[in-house]
Amino acid sequence: MTHKSDISATSGEEKSFPGRKIIGRELEPGGRLPGDRSLIAHLFRRAAFGATPAVLKYYAARSYGAAVEDLVRGKSIAGAPPSFDQTLDPVNDLVFNVGTRNPFSVPSLDQIQTTWVERMVTTTVPLVERMTLFLHNHWATAYRPGDSVDTPELQTQNNVFRDNALGNWSTLCHSMIEDVALSCWLNNNVNVKAHPNENLAREFMELFTLGPGNYTETDVREAARALTGYRFAYNLQGTDPVNEAMGPRYVMIFDPTQHDDGDISIFGSQAAPMMPHQFVDLALSQAAAPMFLARKLAQTFVTPDPSPDFVGRIAASLTANKWELAPALRTIFSSFEFRSEAARSAVVRSPTEYMIGILRALNRTSSDDYSVALYWMNHAGQELYNPPNVGGWPKNMGWLGAGGVLARYNAGVTFADRHVRSTTLPGQTRLRSTTPQGWGEIFGITNLAQATVDAMNGYLNDPTASTDQNVTDAAMITLVLASPDYMLA
């Protein structure tokens, strides 16, 4: 099997595939034909927290391939609402501006959560934030302030995720073994020659790079030895009293005297000494490594059960491009599998995607909106920076216990009300639609299920329906958000 079923707007390569039903209009070389609105909406639901009507209109007039390119290249998506701003400084984060090195004076968890929610809501490069969320779930590190997994460390880690979101997996893996939050969370800061601690070594192979069955217990013990010698220290460098851009509170220090410099053998490769970064390279050189990441990306962005062939093509892209993530994402979004009918509505939105989609659609960008969104995200089971364990959050139906469903419904009710009660500037009109389908489009859904349309029309056509437009608008928003159409991405 080759990559030829994939559309690539850059290569301009497109071949027909007899016997395979391609959904949506085929793209011409270069992707110049107008795009399939339903396919573009599908892409944005998965990769970008949903499309606004303006975004849909823009890319429908151009092409699906153009939308994929803008997303995977991290270019500002066109047609974004004017209120979306790019004023967030990607370098100077909240944490960097605290203005003090006092370790007891750090932002609250709520502050760094709000910062990230604002980024996700207002970003014009949404795949960067979506991938940052993917990486947070993948390298799942939770707030444990007593153990130096505090807000500055989590924000620093989050910035590393964002910097590498469309970057290089190998670079990220090398960064993560020196990440203070992850190291403390998995006890690598106390992994020393005399008392090796296996926690990071094991999870690095099991959960982060290879998956179970692709290493031995001996590899774990030996890798733990290879990872000895790190501890974190107060960051004494890089202070800038003028702009207070100070860098992280702690930095990792490699102490050779605490590193086990004896003979270490991992995956059958021996070295003395075996340095931590050599172990990372060895892990990434395993055949399982690209397959492992490819499968997780496919499960996240396409379908819970991707075919081995599809996973293999994504893995091949990772290998051919030396772990660059953007080409792999291009392979995914251009693939037959992603565009197929089977991939539509095939994953459940996480609470974060659910809430961010609402805020982006309704243009809700006040700090109060972010705070209410965080409240409902927590109730729906996803507190940012506090995953339940190192394996990350639930997925798909795992989100939809009674509490999760109820939190989503009530979040929809809440934001429907906030929308219809919001004041509008003179000359502005509030975002609304007169049809169920129009309401669906506001939330990035171009093809509401007939049952959903019928249920909404049933409300509107009921003789007891209110004549107050705000009442019916709020009900329409609530119904769209409670429908399987919006619960699923």
């Binding site: 459940v348 339940p388 639930p394 009674a402 469903v405």
Partner: protein, 403 residues
Amino acid sequence: MMNRREFLKAATLASAAPLWVRFSATAAEAATEVPIPDRLLLVVYLGGGNDGLNTVVPYQDSAYTKARPTVGLRAADVNSLGGGLGLHKALARVYSLWTSPTHQLAIVQNVGYPNPNYSHFESTYIWETGSATGRYHTGWLGRYLDATDATSPGPVRAIAVGMDALPRTLIGQDGNGVALTSLSDFSFADRPSNGYTDTALRHRAFDALGAGAPDDGSLRSQVLQAEDGTVRAIAAISGATAKTKTNLTDAQTVAAMFAAKVGTEIGFIEVGGFDTHTDEKAFQAQGLQAVDKAIGEFFDAAKTYGIADRVTVMTFTDFGRRVGENANVGTDHGSSGPLLVMGPNVNGGIYGNRPDLSPSALQDGNLVPAINMASVYSSIISQAFHTDPVPILGDYPTIPLIR
């Protein structure tokens, strides 16, 4: 084996009701809920680190009186448990379980974990996960719920009352627990009492979202079923609690949920105020009184609901406190402490050895824990819930706490 959703589906089909009943569920349809589980567990978390030595008090131990000249309790402050031990007098209702002919109070002494951590967050995390080694990050009861998900039906298997978010103890991978600040919290926000004039119409339309949906196992049909289960849970709870008084306390709410026939078998409440660095005697008495009141309310409500023979209550806290008092008539963060298990199925008595308070037996002024918390948890899992605790906690010896 059926999972919960399959159970709901089967229950619905068996009653020949339409697959999507949702808000149109009649009382009879809502009664397709599940039987009340045989064993019901209330976990009471004493937030802040309750002083175990001033709860189960070795008031005749000279090492105790010496270490605590002002904070220490005397004979008049306790109810005797025999053998020189006394229970803090604020725990009067709890003490009545001890003196009852059926001996319904078990005290496990000196419970903790190796290498005690003195941070509230870290130590509570260890207690809630049941793992001192970082092996687990989900809650010990969350893992029990995960392990039994396939065989134990019910849309709300665990409930934390009085809190915004689930305590880690109840967090598993399968979303079995629900946190709520009050029962009225567990309801749709667009109800008439919140000022909505179109509730019925909205909810009919919400019903209709699932109209004619094929039960084809697709993700779409699974979402509709999950919504259906949520509506049933809400309907069942509101039906069951409509008869109860409003303004239930947290403990009474747990009892109401146990009786609501939605499969709830675990409740969790918190009583705070135990971080007694200063003026310990007054603050701890206040806290323990609140605990005693909650436990009493719970047992009383269980009796009212006819579930008294199924309930067990257990306590836990962040950590015990330092043996020696500090300069502020209080105590600082310590290590192990006693854990109370109560109820009609409990083998009453005192388990484990009394901690040795002589200075040479202490580590950095703290007790050396003797019984691992995971042993107590394993006992609860195997004896109350008849489930193998090893996959949930690891292999720990059990204590015959429950019959």
